[in-house]
Amino acid sequence: MELPGKGLVKGLAVTLGTLGRRTGTQQYPDVEPDLPPRSRGVIALIEENCTVCMLCARECPDWCIYIDSHKEEVVVPGAARARQRNVLDRFAIDFSLCMYCGICVEVCPFDALHWSPEFEYAEHDIRDLLHEKDRLEEWVATVPAPPAHDHRGEPAKEQTAAAKRSGGGAA
């Protein structure tokens, strides 16, 4: 038979135990939060890598990426005709719409988009959350080096592809 009042004593013991334990609270504005790697804070753009392929803008579920571009002719001496290349005029991400899914970062074939853990870009006016190209470039400095590959995971796709191409089997 259970002793009457056992539950009452147990409740008291739990709260007293918690009283003695350290709290996990981080005093945020005073202490920088200790974010996990690959935190999704803001998206950084490396403009030189962008080829205006529009994949990111098309894949974006809430259409928050705006890209304007024009074509330029590049005359290469000796070539039969002039080549065309895309020039980026505008690249903007509206962070008031963005839902931080990261599809644009994943889908970019030329590594022009990167996650940065910076998150302190709140604004008083929602319209200021539209980050233009220059603002997006500023975030590049805060992009951390990619975390080391998991040593027991499968090799990276690039590695496997490179190994195949050079004739060997999987690395």
């Binding site: 009452l8 008291l12 709260t15 007293l16 918690t18 334990r21 709290t23």
Partner: protein
């Protein structure tokens, strides 16, 4: 010392205690409750671990608009917070702090006076509830009335047990007559008195009259600013008073090593220890439902208190 100076001094000390002790208990509640819930509690006000949080709260309450609802009974509405607060001040007057008459106003019927004055609380609650012209307030007030009337009985019966054991109604007299083995003899009375005291000051788990999840804030719903602060202050003075009464009646008041010099320190230490338990219970237990509340009172506490009276009488006669 001329008598008027002595009187003024005594009253000043009691008012000082009346204003500081509840703040200390309130701050302790902030911090203890936070840490018991794995939080930090106030950290900013006053720079060091938020020690000035309640001062800041007080400043905030003073700045708030003082609203009296149009349909309210103005005079009663405005008087209620004062009626809630003043009885506790009167109680603090007669609680002995140490031996050799270290008490603001020694009273031969101290216990009787204390029980009578603490009972005024129910009137303040009813005044606040009825005059607010708000159905939630009224519901809270009626719950409070049912609760306070019910718990008054075990409260008085368990206090009577001690008075019987000590053979006096004077609070100093009870402490003087107290012996350590009374801890065992009067243990049921102590538990009953403490529980009923908690219900008397409407502390969780007996905060059915306030029950913010169902009654908005019970009889406090319509109060703002300083008047609301008065009610809050009354709650914390209530903790001090109940802790002090439990100390004086059941824990031997100033009794302890070197009580000739350090009696007052022992009293304060015991009061704070009991106040800690009050806070602890609030964190640990959920609110009692109205029927559970009444059942606990009438079917558990009252019979137990009567049994304790019989035991006290039997031991008293046997000795």
């Amino acid at each position: 010392m001329p008598i008027w100076l002595e009187l003024a001094l005594r009253v000043l000390v009691v008012v000082g205690a009346f204003l500081t002790l509840p703040l200390i208990v309130g701050q302790a509640e902030h911090k203890v409750m936070a840490h018991m819930q794995g939080r930090l509690g106030p950290m900013y006000a006053g720079a060091f671990h938020g020690w000035a949080q309640l001062v800041a709260d007080g400043v905030k309450f003073v700045q708030k608009e003082d609203i009296t609802p149009r349909a309210a009974d103005r005079q009663v509405f405005r008087l209620a917070p004062v009626v809630a607060l003043l009885p506790y001040l009167a109680v603090l007057l007669v609680i002995p702090l140490g031996p050799h008459g270290l008490v603001a106003q020694p009273l031969d019927v101290g216990l009787f006076f204390v029980l009578a004055v603490v009972g005024i609380g129910v009137i303040a609650v009813l005044m606040a509830a009825w005059s607010s012209a708000n159905k939630y307030s009224l519901l809270g007030g009626l719950r409070a009335a049912a609760q306070l009337l019910g718990y008054e009985l075990p409260f008085v019966l368990s206090a009577a047990s001690v008075a019987m054991a000590a053979g006096t109604l004077s609070l100093s007299g009870i402490v003087e007559a107290w012996r350590p083995w009374w801890l065992l003899w009067q243990l049921p009375a102590m538990l009953i008195f403490f529980t009923a005291g908690l219900a008397e000051i409407r502390r969780p788990p007996f905060d059915m009259p306030i029950a913010d999840s169902e009654l908005v804030f019970g009889y406090l719903t319509e109060y703002t600013g300083l008047r609301f602060a008065f009610f809050l202050l009354a709650e914390y003075v209530g903790i001090v008073v109940i802790a002090a009464l439990t100390t004086v009646l059941f824990l031997g008041g100033w009794k302890g090593p070197f009580d000739d010099q350090l009696g007052w320190l022992w009293t304060l230490l015991k009061v704070f220890a009991v106040a800690f338990v009050v806070i602890w219970l609030r964190v640990a237990y959920p609110r009692l439902r109205e029927d559970q509340l009444q059942r606990l009172c009438w079917l558990v506490l009252v019979p137990l208190a009567l049994l304790q009276l019989v035991i006290t009488a039997a031991v008293k006669v046997a000795l």
